[in-house]
């Protein structure tokens, strides 16, 4: 999952980025002011925006309004040093999904970030189940038919992204965009290696089972191709609003 962090306080941004990378393993991009944040947010690759309110050039509230004005539904978590219900009501009414008052707890921030991403993809529970596959996003553990599958951090992140979108063809580019930040050297064959390893590990857990990750040559990957259409987690919630343009590539 990829998070955009808009925060002008350098040290705080460093800490937040480190925590989001280390903890849930998100890719994090950092914008130092409101205008840069607005530019970054135009890329449809973010699963969450963590937004400070008091920003130079363009403040957080106006950035949020711009975002929502162009029908961008990316979940937004606001960091605010302001007290008072008025300001919070104004924020929520402007389209914020959640807020945290400074000084906040890093653990709480991570939990809220995860919850917002999950909700944004239409899943209410932190444990996601597709067919015989079960992913616990809190413990970052994966089971297939009760057998624990040991994954590397990158393999887990690929699976975590795919399991939010079962049956959907996810392009390599989409995976890259959502798993790596701008500081990463993009090499699509890196993804191929990780997906290949992920598939091997998942299939090894159940020797007689069907392959759960399907490779569509030249188009991308598909998790759980055999899943009935109405059994997708969060299908009715219209998951993956900002990824649709990648579908079918």
């Amino acid at each position: 999952m990829r998070v955009l962090l808009v925060e002008d306080e350098v040290r705080l941004a460093e800490n937040l980025a480190a925590a989001l990378r280390d903890g849930p393993g998100f890719a994090v991009d950092w914008a130092e002011d409101g205008l840069a944040g607005d530019e970054f947010a135009r890329q449809p690759c973010y699963d969450l925006i963590v937004l400070d309110l008091m920003l130079p050039k363009l403040d957080g509230l106006n950035l949020l309004k711009r975002l929502r004005a162009r029908r961008d539904a990316t979940p937004v978590l606001i960091l605010t040093a302001k007290d008072g219900a008025d300001s919070i009501i104004q924020l929520l009414n402007a389209g914020a999904d959640d807020y945290l008052a400074k000084p906040f707890d890093l653990g709480e921030l991570i939990a809220r970030a995860k919850a917002l991403i999950r909700r944004g993809k239409g899943a209410a529970h932190p444990t996601l189940n597709v067919l015989d596959l079960s992913v616990n996003t809190l413990e970052q553990t994966v089971c297939r038919r009760g057998v624990v599958v040991d994954l590397s951090p990158t393999e887990y992140r690929v699976l975590e992204y795919l399991i939010h979108r079962p049956r959907v063809i996810v392009s390599k580019r989409e995976l890259l965009e959502h798993l790596y930040d701008y500081n990463w050297e993009h090499h699509s064959n890196v993804i191929e290696v990780h997906v290949s390893n992920l598939r091997k590990k998942l299939d090894a857990a159940v020797p007689d089972g069907e392959p759960i990750v399907e490779t569509m040559r030249g188009r991308g990957y598909r998790l759980a191709p055999g899943l009935p259409l109405d059994d997708r987690p969060g299908a009715e919630a219209g998951a993956g609003f900002n990824m649709d343009r990648d579908e079918g590539q």
């Binding site: 903890g23 400074k102 000084p103 906040f104 890093l106």
Partner: protein
């Protein structure tokens, strides 16, 4: 408000009460004057009529003086034809002083002597005011002449008689008293009627004042809305008060808004600084780390807490610099040139690190400036200069020069700090002295400043009664002129 309650409840010393008392006092005075004037006028009118009446009666008595038809051509008074009120007195004498006739109740021989004429001489005779039979009389003494034997040759003989005629005056006084009593009673009735009327009118007349007070009372820290009623604006007496109230409220509101903004900004800065520290520690604690990682993390935490410390110190400095201390101007202060040298020494390493040269120039008459004293404590003066110098250094490209100039002006000393940096954009220039304002937002926090340096400098200069200006020209199309900070401070003159 106290004031409006007083006008409403008629307490002593309320304006309405005082006005009513004043008006009633004036009314009472005029009533007394009216009574006095009417008394004088009535007395004059009545006594004039009385005198005319006396004259008429005396004339009728003269008419009754007849020739006695005796050899001496003497006169006689024919009293048979006279119809005279029994209270009146009269006496008629001839030239020789012989009494021709007098009334039955005549007593006053001293009147006849003609002594003690009182009052202004009347064209027809003299007026006397004797007391006869215990009553006050008004008496006319006149001379009349009769011609005896007008048919004779030479037109007859002229005989002069003196007629004294008096009548009691009590009924005249009675009439005068009646008239005066009428006026007095009228005045009292007028007083009694106008008293409440004035009270009511004043109550109505002071309505704009009460409305103004009621509206002013609604103003509070949370609601600065003050729209004075049109009546208060158009009333000449209330217009200055309304304007004063409005401007005072506007100034108060502005300073309240500023203070509130400062508190909000300060809270934001402090919370952010605390958030940095907290997140640094929590990040360190998120998983087990190597000793080197812990050490690096602790060093970062230390840097974070140093920043928090600097922020708190700057906020306290600003609060101290902004607190009013009028006696500061009278205290002997620091040697400005020494402060400049101290500030340069403090920032030597910063300048060296950035590769910027700092030059100090003094004007031609610099010899006198080297010992000039400004009314600022040494520490604050050095802080002021080092803040400005640090600002200049931070915005200077390497291998450039920051120039400090000290100049003497009439009664004041001018310090100019000029850099050769990129300048400040025109839209940022009005805000450079704002608290927590960072002229270059994208890197403002990286330079480690708290955003209070210039606000502190301004507060220090203002406290000393000086001025501070920052001029800059930042235009993409023009070569940069750099930024010039000009501080003008009054010179402390030893008594």
């Amino acid at each position: 408000m106290k004031f409006s309650r007083r006008t409403r409840s008629w307490l002593p010393r309320s304006i309405a009460f005082r006005l009513i008392i004043a008006v009633l006092a004036v009314e009472l005075l005029s009533a007394v004057l009216v009574v006095a004037l009417s008394f004088g006028y009535e007395r004059h009118i009545h006594f004039h009529a009385f005198d005319v009446m006396l004259h008429g009666r005396a004339d009728s008595i003269l008419g009754a003086v007849q020739d006695a038809e005796d050899p001496g051509d003497s006169l006689m008074l024919d009293q048979a034809d006279l119809h005279i009120s029994p209270e009146d007195i009269y006496e008629v004498r001839d030239q020789a002083g012989r009494v021709l006739g007098r009334s039955a109740n005549w007593q006053g021989t001293e009147i006849a002597q003609g002594s003690g004429a009182e009052g202004p001489p009347q064209p027809w005779g003299e007026i006397l005011r004797p007391t006869v039979n215990g009553q006050r009389y008004r008496v006319l003494r006149m001379r009349g002449s009769r011609t005896v034997d007008p048919g004779e040759q030479g037109g007859g003989k002229q005989r002069t008689v003196t007629i004294i005629y008096g009548a009691p005056t009590y009924h005249v006084w009675h009439a005068i008293r009646g008239a005066v009593e009428f006026y007095a009673a009228g005045s009292i009735v007028l007083l009694l009627v106008t008293g409440p009327l004035i009270a009511w009118l004043l109550h109505r007349g002071l309505l704009p004042l009460r409305q103004l007070a009621a509206l002013a009372a609604q103003v509070s820290v949370d609601s600065w809305q003050f729209s004075p009623p049109a009546s208060a604006r158009t009333t000449p007496e209330l217009a200055p008060l309304t304007q004063a109230l409005e401007s005072v409220l506007q100034r108060l509101e502005r300073s309240f808004v500023q203070q509130r903004a400062f508190v909000s900004d300060a809270a934001h800065e402090l919370k952010t600084a605390v958030a940095v520290q907290k997140s640094s520690l929590q990040l360190l604690n998120m998983k087990r780390r190597s000793a080197q990682e812990y050490q690096a993390g602790l060093e970062r935490c230390l840097v974070d807490s140093l920043r928090l410390e600097a922020l708190v110190a700057d906020m306290l400095t600003l609060a101290r610099a902004e607190s009013p201390a009028p006696e500061a101007r009278r205290q002997p202060g620091a040697d400005l040139a020494a402060c400049v040298r101290q500030a340069i020494a403090q920032l030597e390493t910063v300048a060296a690190l950035r590769g910027v040269k700092v030059s100090l120039a003094q004007a031609a008459e610099g010899a006198s400036i080297s010992t000039v004293q400004v009314p600022i404590p040494f520490g604050d003066c050095t802080l002021l200069i080092s803040n400005l110098l640090l600002n200049a250094l931070q915005h200077s490209p390497s291998a450039s020069t920051v120039e400090l100039r000290l100049m003497d002006e009439a009664g004041s000393v001018v310090l100019v700090i000029q850099d050769q940096g990129d300048g400040i954009p025109a839209e940022a220039l009005p805000h450079v002295f704002d608290r927590f304002y960072r002229g270059d937002p994208s890197r403002g926090r990286n330079t480690g400043g708290t955003g209070l340096g210039l606000a502190i400098s301004k507060a220090i200069v203002h406290k000393a009664g000086g001025t501070i200006e920052i001029a800059s020209q930042a235009d993409a199309n023009l070569p940069s002129q750099g930024t010039t900070a000009t501080v003008r401070l009054p010179v402390f003159s030893s008594p």
